[in-house]
């Protein structure tokens, strides 16, 4: 009668389990599913079960073992029964004793206990198997096993016991059949998965801790037992490595988060000002990282090789200050203008030598210079696009804006990071206004009291802004032109103001125009969110216009310089020829030694590249100065004045007029973006610019953090950070593209200066690449290149790309359509559901319009006329007109009141009774909007 005995054992196990598990509650779906599975597997067991996951898992674990035992039990002889009996008695007694212990002990220990039992079950099954082979020996062993089972510290030993016994004899190995191993493996995997996903469960940590410990114990115990023979060691090794790997990964994660710079600073800001201000600093940090990489390229591949392996300072004309300037070359004012020693240093394009290879490494500096110059753009492009893609992935599916306006305002508007009472107060106020605003919006979709005035004002505002944009562009053009005149005059005659006019004007325009635009935008009276977008667009246009005007003026200058350069080049060549002719005629030899002139005295060209580089550096520096000064004055001094003068002033300065400054997120971000644009443009002509920018960003980080924390107050109207991230990135991408254009134009079309820079002596800058291909690479690559640049090949390639674009476009359109369809379906399902709940025929606007359009109701069979309406409909009818129906809620109520007050209004949405045929013909049907309109957003009543 082995089956019966087994049942006894099972029941006992489960009794114990119940005692243990009553402590822990259960809940999640997964458990329920698992439970269901268990029930399905063992429907024959009628033992009462506690609804608990852990117990069920355990039972599942034991399941295969029990099965195996059952199989083995059947063919057994009656001889064994006695012995079997005695053992079961023993096991019962031991079990009972343990049960008591389990009751007394705490959760975990009792868990261990259960695991012990599991172990023992395993051990027993093995022994049974042995008994089939050799009875007596088996008995001895079994007793031994049971004795061990009685011991308190069985837990550890049992693990060893099972593993050692299985490795001892072959028969033991067989005791774990393939299927069992598989099942065990599966369980182990499952437990592992459970460990990994445990943190995703919204349970108490205590409960998670318990489950984790249990799962870990389980995995630890059974992982070792898996695998057979020789594979075992490998398996163990693998397991160990996996564990180590996980630990390493975790440590690495920790390390990575510890390495992110300024994390705490940004968190501080975040907790004071909410996530939107912090988003600026995160953007700044991102920009800093990008610039650091760019600087690495520039520094490692261009600057350092030239400094280490190139000719030293003073060896050739381009690397020395001209004699005329040498007296003042060290003056601070000169250096500050990036003239003198600065101009002839590694910071600028002109310093680099055109030798094809330098140093022992045969480093090809000109090629490296060109490739780095272009590579900077390539790398930036890649990074920006990758970041954008990641951001847009994080953005989710982006449901339609209008769907959950109220709920989002309600559930997600609080920024939990806010830890500053002042910010919190602002947040309260802004939330309240946004609630009120949206309520008002809902109530009256658009108040068009004087549309003509509004339109006029908007046109006027745009006109004014266009005027100021044009004015600023003209001003810059004028100033740059004037500066060209100045540059022809003697340096000493000019005042500082005249020398730095361009940069000053540009920075001041950047400072003055945005507030001006904001003031003008008041005229338009847009919704703040729309107004913000307009404002950003206008500032963007301003910056862009200024930058491009500046560039065009610069190009004028460059062409002028190119002209003068030609003359100088001719003059030098003429002088050289003259010298050679003189020399050869004088000494009557063709072997002319090189002209012995001090490099400082040679006649040299204007080197337009360096000039452009200097313009950009000056622009950056003055921009930096203006930004920092405006922070210092506009924020710090103002804050100090407001703070301390407030004690002796006639009105409240803090709440009244000057108050404290606000942190202008959009303006700062745009400033950063344009700064970056200038860096991209200027980096080619001034390798040192990137380094300068790294410094600038570093200083900005600390300085602005400090300024924000000490003298700014949070925005009244905070706009959310998440939505604008990709917007900024998009702007950055646009600026990147726009700054790529002039650089590529100069590389491809303008001829480089003849006596300075790495490309001197070449017709075009990109000739370096051609030269390298010709001379340094195997000839077949040159051939390939020739073929590749063949128009016959390029045309098809372009065609192919166009086709690919067309195809991808079509595909994405298809996806969009599918997306739209799915959304429509979801909406329909939702409407359906609503209808069913509301017991109405339709709330779908389209259906209702259709019904409205039907010529008369005779088309619709009047079914409900005579029939007694179903009870729920009656209730609804009764409750409908005066009170809230479940769907219509507040809005509906209000409208209905209005109706009762102003009954003469024919357009007011009278609620149609559920049986529409009752309403007076024509009136109820024809022109009237259905009840859905009344509470929809579409048509509010005119009052």
């Amino acid at each position: 009668m082995p089956p019966k005995r087994k049942d006894n054992v099972v029941i006992k196990v489960e009794d114990v389990g119940m005692d243990v598990d009553a402590v822990i509650d259960s809940g999640s779906e997964e458990e329920a599913r698992r439970r269901a599975k268990n029930r399905r597997v063992r429907p024959q067991r009628k033992a009462k079960r506690v609804s608990d996951d852990e117990e069920d898992e355990d039972e599942e674990d034991e399941e295969p073992r029990r099965k195996g035992r059952k199989k083995k039990a059947k063919p057994r002889d009656s001889d064994e029964e006695e012995e079997e009996d005695s053992r079961s008695v023993k096991s019962k007694s031991s079990r009972a004793s343990r049960r008591k212990a389990a009751k007394e002990e705490s959760e975990e220990e009792s868990e261990d206990d259960r695991q012990k039992k599991k172990k023992r079950g395993k051990g027993v099954s093995k022994q049974e198997k042995e008994e089939q082979n050799k009875e007596k020996k088996g008995q001895v062993k079994g007793k031994e096993g049971k004795d061990k089972g009685g011991e308190k510290d069985r837990k550890k030993k049992s693990g060893k016991f099972s593993s050692s016994s299985s490795s001892d004899s072959d028969s033991d190995d067989q005791s774990l059949s393939e299927g069992e191993i598989e099942a065990l493996k599966e369980q182990v995997e499952e437990k592992k998965k459970q460990i990994a996903t445990l943190r995703n469960k919204p349970w108490r940590i205590k409960r998670r801790l318990v489950i984790l410990k249990e799962a870990q114990d389980f995995v630890e115990k059974y992982e070792g037992a898996l695998g057979k023979g020789k594979g075992k060691r490998l398996y163990a090794f693998k397991v160990m490595m996996a564990k180590k790997w996980i630990k390493f990964k975790r440590d690495f994660e920790n390390f990575k988060t510890a390495c992110i710079p300024w994390e705490r600073k940004i968190k501080d800001v975040e907790s004071h000002f909410g996530s939107s201000v912090a988003s600026y600093f995160i953007f700044l940090r991102w920009m800093y990282g990008l610039n650091l990489v760019l600087f690495g390229f520039m520094f490692g591949l261009v600057i350092v090789p030239e400094l280490l392996m190139g000719l030293p300072y003073g060896s050739i004309p381009r690397k020395i200050v001209p004699r005329a300037e040498q007296d003042t070359a060290m003056d601070f004012s000169v250096l500050f203008d990036f003239r003198g020693y600065c101009k002839y240093s590694f910071l600028f394009y002109g310093y680099y030598n055109s030798e094809r290879t330098i140093g022992v490494l045969q480093f090809k500096l000109p090629l490296s210079y060109l490739l780095v110059g272009v590579g900077i753009f390539g790398y930036s492009l890649m990074v920006v696009i990758r970041t954008m893609a990641r951001n847009s992935n994080e953005g989710g599916d982006g449901a339609e804006e209008g769907e959950f306006t109220f709920s989002w305002k309600m559930f997600t508007s609080w920024d939990y990071l806010i830890g500053n009472p002042e910010t919190a107060d602002n947040k309260y106020a802004s939330i309240t206004t946004s609630f009120k605003e949206s309520i008002v919006d809902e109530q009256e979709s658009q108040k068009d009291e004087n549309i003509h005035l509004r339109r006029f004002l908007r046109v006027l505002a745009n006109f004014l802004i266009l005027c100021s944009l044009g004015g600023s562009g003209f001003l810059i053009y004028f100033v740059v032109k004037r500066s060209q005149e100045f540059s022809n005059m003697e340096n000493e005659d000019l005042s500082w103001l005249e020398k730095n006019e361009v940069e000053l004007v540009m920075s001041l325009l950047g400072l003055v125009c945005p507030p001006l635009f904001e003031t003008i935008a008041e005229l338009e009276d847009y919704h703040p969110r729309v107004a913000l977008k307009w404002q950003l667009g206008r500032i963007f246009a301003l910056f862009l216009g200024n930058l491009y005007t500046f560039l065009f003026a610069l190009f004028d200058e460059v062409t002028a310089k190119l002209e003068s350069e030609k003359a100088i080049k001719n003059a030098t060549e003429w002088a050289l020829n003259q010298y050679i002719a003189n020399y050869s005629s004088h000494y009557n030899t063709t072997n002319v030694p090189p002209q012995n002139v001090d490099p400082a005295d040679t006649l040299r060209g204007p080197c337009w590249e360096t000039a452009v580089g200097i313009e950009f550096v000056k622009l950056i520096v003055s921009d930096m100065q203006v930004t920092y000064l405006s922070i210092l004055i506009g924020d710090f001094i103002r804050a100090v004045l407001v703070r301390y003068l407030n004690y002796c002033w006639c009105w409240d300065l803090e709440a009244g007029f000057p108050s404290y400054g606000e942190f202008d997120i959009s303006g700062n971000v745009l400033g950063l973006i344009f700064n970056q644009g200038m860096i991209w443009m200027g980096a080619f002509y001034c390798p040192g610019l990137v380094g300068l920018n790294v410094l600038r960003l570093l200083v900005s980080m600390y300085y602005q953090c400090w300024a924000v924390m000490c003298c700014n107050v949070p925005h009244e109207r905070v706009f959310k950070a998440s939505g604008s991230n990709n917007f900024y990135m998009g702007l950055l991408l646009l600026v990147l593209f726009l700054s790529l254009l002039p650089v590529v134009y100069t590389i491809m079309t303008l001829s480089p200066s003849f006596d300075c820079g790495p490309f001197s002596g070449q017709e075009k800058m990109y000739d370096v690449v051609m030269e390298t291909i010709d001379k340094d690479l195997p000839s077949f690559i040159g051939n390939i290149f020739v073929y590749a640049t063949n128009p016959g090949l390029i045309m098809p390639a372009v065609l192919l790309m166009v086709l690919a674009i067309y195809y991808l476009n079509a595909v994405s359109k298809g996806y969009q359509q599918a997306n739209l369809d799915l959304k429509k379906k979801m909406k329909m399902a939702r409407d359906e559901e609503k209808n069913r709940r509301n017991n109405k025929d339709s709330t779908n606007q389209v259906m209702k319009d259709l019904e409205d359009l039907l010529p008369d109701k005779s088309l619709i069979p009047p079914p409900t006329e005579e029939e007694p309406p179903p009870p729920d409909v009656v209730i609804e009818k009764g409750s409908k007109s005066p009170k809230i129906k479940p769907g219509a809620a507040g809005k509906g109520v209000k409208l209905q009141k209005d109706v009762s007050l102003a009954a003469t209004n024919p357009r007011a949405p009278v609620n149609r009774a559920p049986g529409p045929r009752r309403a007076p013909p024509g009136n109820a049907r024809g022109p009237q909007p259905g009840p859905g309109r009344g509470r929809g957003r579409g048509g509010p009543p005119r009052q």
Binding site: R199, F406, Y428, Q443
Partner: protein, 189 residues
Amino acid sequence: MGTTASQLGKDLLSEYQELTFLTKQEILLAHKRFTELLTKDEKDRPNIRISMGRILALPELKSNPFRKRICHVFSTSEHKDGSLTFEDFLDLLSAFSDSATLEIKSHYAFRIFDFDDDGTLDCGDLEKLVNCLTGETDDTRLTTEEMRQLIGNILEESDIDKDGTVNLSEFQHVISRSPDFVSSFKIVL
């Protein structure tokens, strides 16, 4: 299971890392902040609870309108007094951490908003929620009429099964579409 007074055990630390979304540094910082709240003699006792009042004095929670609810939700105290053990505290920080999933966050957000702990957001809960969001002062309060309309609109939008309350799945449905929920449902020590 409890915390040793000065230092967290290594095993415990790794287990906490396994169970929460926090990094090692964050857990240690949390422990430091937690022990700072304790008095001298309390430090020796394991499994000590900190009363809600002292937790609320933390600057991170001080100006949060839901601070009491947060404490109540994460508290495992039997007296329902909102007191927290260190593990509850970790639980809280984990749910509000950067890397916690949307599901976890929305789950706890729901619990926080469910003022009467009945498993659904009904009109009363929503009203309290609005009052929390608009602050204590009278000038920012909404009028009764506005309140009614607001709640009506919210139910109209998110109450899909039309039972007059918002349940967890409806709530999660709404929240999951929101672009800024995950970024704003954060508390950082």
